[in-house]
């Protein structure tokens, strides 16, 4: 599969996530759109790792089994960080709901005054 297809797919998913962050006011939905953006980046990294593997095999240099697997480990670490981020972020949202009885992010502008 040409790599351009994966680039377009991942960019479209990322931009849907960006639009979701901009147009939704519920803090949980905004958080889910951030997860969507993280996942599109993961998809791009895996596609590039397979492209790198194919390129270095085609050039015939350094045919080792492990070429390109760094990117997949980066994806693994991104997932680890995302899981930690979700646990802390949802705790913050629950705390906010307990204080203002809403998840509307427009209630978070109190620092302005």
């Amino acid at each position: 599969m040409p790599i351009q297809n994966y680039i377009i797919l991942a960019a479209a998913l990322f931009c849907i996530g960006v639009s979701g962050v901009l147009i939704r006011r519920n803090a949980i939905i905004v958080f889910m759109c951030i997860e969507l953006m993280l996942n599109s980046v993961n998809l791009m990294l895996v596609a590039f790792s397979k492209m790198h593997y194919a390129l270095s095999n085609a050039q015939g240099k350094g045919i080792s089994e492990s070429i390109g697997s760094d990117a997949q480990l980066f994806v693994f670490f991104i997932m680890v960080v995302a899981a930690a981020e979700v646990s802390v972020g949802l705790a913050i949202i629950v705390m906010m709901y307990r204080n203002v009885h809403s998840t509307d992010i427009n209630f978070l502008n109190r620092l302005k005054n």
Binding site: P2, A11, C15, S19, I23, N39, A54, F77, V88, N106
Partner: protein
């Protein structure tokens, strides 16, 4: 058109449609369910790319753990379509236009880059995504980041408990 291509286009269409539905749907529970569909289709893409370890981890961590956490929080707060705050239509239009412009810029910048013209992602060959290879590298080259991520998890757990605790 081979079976791989058909699967690729089907999974791409499914991912894009359900990502749109995540943003569009009024009920937060429906958004979570559509996001689970997105994660399943992205896992399908990983399997097509023969990255089996990442596919399984994606299913277990995202579709299994994180989405259940989201559902718990939404049901705990009793959110539904009636309590959903809405932005006015001008801000919505601005958000959609901003996202579309970003998409245009990214695609036009990346489409004709020198490094990626005529390069393909190998679909079903190569065993770099298998758990044997990834495990070997994870526990030799990347053992320090692996241990650091366990410290990160511990601090995230402590942080979540401290933040969520009643005063």
């Amino acid at each position: 058109m081979t079976a791989t291509e058909i699967l690729f286009w089907f999974l791409s269409a499914l991912a894009l449609f359900s990502a749109l539905m995540v943003v569009i749907s009024k009920n937060p529970v429906h958004s979570v369910l559509w996001l689970i569909v997105v994660f399943f289709s992205i896992s399908g893409h990983y399997i097509l790319l023969n990255a089996q370890f990442i596919a399984i981890v994606n299913l277990i961590v995202y579709a299994g753990a994180i989405m259940v956490l989201f559902l718990f929080v939404i049901m705990l707060m009793n959110l539904n379509a009636n309590t959903e705050p809405q932005r006015n239509s001008l801000v919505r239009l601005a958000g959609v236009v901003a996202g579309g412009l970003l998409l245009t810029v990214m695609i036009s910048a990346l489409r004709s880059a020198n490094e990626i013209t005529n390069s393909k992602a190998t679909m079903s060959e190569g065993d770099i995504g298998l758990i044997q290879n990834l495990g070997k590298i994870l526990f030799t080259q990347y053992v320090v980041p692996f241990e650091l991520s366990s410290v990160l998890f511990l601090s995230a757990m402590v942080g979540a408990v401290v933040i969520g605790k009643k005063e």
